[in-house]
Subunit: 448 residues, 2 copies
Amino acid sequence: MDFKELEDIEHKIEEREDFSGEKVRPLIIFFPKNEEEVVRIVKFARKVKIPIIPWGSGTNLTGAASCDKNCILIDMSKMNKILEINDVDWYVRVQPGIKLIDLFEELEKKGFMLPPDPASFFLCSVGGAVAESSGGMKGVRHGSFREWVLALRVVLPDGEVIKVGEPLRKNRAGYDLVHLFVGSEGTLGVITEIWLRIIPLPKRKMVMISALLKDFESVGEVIVGLRKNRILPELSEYVDADVVRALNKHLNANLKETEGGMLLISIEEDMVNDVLKVLEGKTIDVKVAEGEEAEKLYSLRAQAAIAVKAESGNVFYAEDIVVPVSKLPEAIRRLKEIGRKYNTKFYVISHIGDGNLHPNIIIEDKDTRERAFEEIARMAIELGGSVSGEHGIGVQKAKLMAEQIAKHNGIRVLDLMYQIKKLIDPDDIMNPNKYVELAYKFLNNSSN
Amino acid sequence: MDFKELEDIEHKIEEREDFSGEKVRPLIIFFPKNEEEVVRIVKFARKVKIPIIPWGSGTNLTGAASCDKNCILIDMSKMNKILEINDVDWYVRVQPGIKLIDLFEELEKKGFMLPPDPASFFLCSVGGAVAESSGGMKGVRHGSFREWVLALRVVLPDGEVIKVGEPLRKNRAGYDLVHLFVGSEGTLGVITEIWLRIIPLPKRKMVMISALLKDFESVGEVIVGLRKNRILPELSEYVDADVVRALNKHLNANLKETEGGMLLISIEEDMVNDVLKVLEGKTIDVKVAEGEEAEKLYSLRAQAAIAVKAESGNVFYAEDIVVPVSKLPEAIRRLKEIGRKYNTKFYVISHIGDGNLHPNIIIEDKDTRERAFEEIARMAIELGGSVSGEHGIGVQKAKLMAEQIAKHNGIRVLDLMYQIKKLIDPDDIMNPNKYVELAYKFLNNSSN
């Protein structure tokens, strides 16, 4: 393929891999420095009918940016500016390539926060987090990215630039297209500018309760107990006993090892006693940390996946199911059963407070690993949950997503999603054959 | 028209009027008691090609349910049950016909709240509030309905029933269609069941600060001051001097009358001093109320529109613009100028904390009234705001919405919205010729 008409745009030829281990082998990688260059790349790709894949930092876990030869990768890392932090209208306007951690730091200096904090925040790009509608540790109180995006500039698959939404929390001018693009995984257009809502840092003193639980089962009961007592923590995270061991081994965490793993709950200081009451009888040890000590626990939790990755020797799938909180005790019981069946441990990392579990499946044999992976996702569907809370679908979960929609929503819903994809991308050049499109094909093949 | 095949469904023939004063003259009104009856009505309507209009309580202010003879009205008032209040998963599942106030009362008994509280909450239906993505007084902290809807059952225009979304806060299974239906004003389908997120009632003591301001200009400065000091009230509402007079005259409010009108700020008791500091030098009188006294102020604010309606002798348009908070001082200055130009007062009611203003235009002559109305909306567009924050578009604001989108988003955005309407409702029977469709026609006529 001859890319001469784009040769003035920074580019290179290189193979990559995303965090799920999927290969990314584009024909060429472009590094546009502004929206005009993105438009030129998109128009060219459409003319020559080569698929385009936008790339943030490659931290996605579902192969959403994978490609085998026939694609152009648009690496957004050069478009990494903060364009505006508005301390009256309470929004920030950024380019998609900025690292989330860099944005967090600038906001904090001005007394603000953007709550969704995926564990990969020190690596991932804001554009990627929006395209995946990423969640994070503070999701239990503040939700995931889709609750924080106000407006987007997008280069559509035919090269036309639009803005969806307004930098206003309230805006009723037409159907909500913002939420169509948030979580669209690069299949509807290339995001070139993002307005995100921000809020002040908490005014009240927050503390971090770290509870070593008696057993794995206790964590479900504690979370249900918090809900029944109408307690809403800022963060409620859980890592099981095997993850604690991995943290000690690979990151010198120096955490106490117990059978029940560790629950972290961040909450306003004056609410601590309410939480301690719920924890009564379920723990071996409870500590209330603040300041640097609390920060350290938060940071260890954020790095839990790295410890598991080190432990696994790279042979692992990160699950990302959601179950209704009321079904957590059952989900945990069934997870243990599935573990026994496959003779494995699951290294469970979780945003337990909103029912979002990441069992990490470390099984050498790929087929067996996949079977365990699918069994866990189907358990979530059966319990009225979802196959993905925040990692998204990509290529990895398209079939499972189709099953969920067929069971919970009606296959017409997947048909509508697919029609919308075709409406916006009739030439099918935006990150094709993944996500909605792939799920649609699974469903149509299986029903034929 | 012969409706014999539906004669077992409760029905009557009647003319109505919505709260904007628009006439609603359907061929027939059906009162379905369940989803199956809705499906039969929709399939029949499609067969005979008669438009359908869903009706909640008729409190909309933009003619969104208007109809001149050729329509079937589906009155949802018989489908008014609470199906489930889940105190662990923190959602409520309801039928659309339930009154919002009835839902609020049941939630409160269990210690929960659904924050968006449109001033019409004592009359409006939940289905209507979702279809309009209504806002309310607590929007400044908690946003409008679109931030609270988890999932919906919808009868599509061809009679097929789907569920969009899941009763989970986190769910990444496919494009977000929930937000497409929230705020769709009955143009994409008939909502038959709704899952809404709920949260615990505030644990901390809330108080209501009522501040009588020196002048109209002060209110903009106070709100900017709150933002700069990173103070986020639960509610920050403003009514101008003329509204205060109307409340005294028509509802015996017994409020002190000053030139600057009244600002109400509800916030946690331990944050009061931070607010008072911002108010310094801007007020004539400040009181901090709690309990019943605070309730009374809240309720007076909710009834402000009724007082204005009584004052106006029914000749008024309720505006619903949003401006960026940073532009409030300028918006207020320009509003006064427009008032002088038309030799009128605007009886400003407002969710001032999020820049959402309701100037009420009381001008006898309809053409002049419309000119003033449009001038105010165009001012909002110029300031980077929106022509609607929570009332929606209906027939009243389609042209202005088209102007906003053309100026802020690109006309392609309106085209996309219109294509989505055609995709979901190819026969154009769901509440046709309003909102997106009407805006699209305006834009296409004006550009030809």
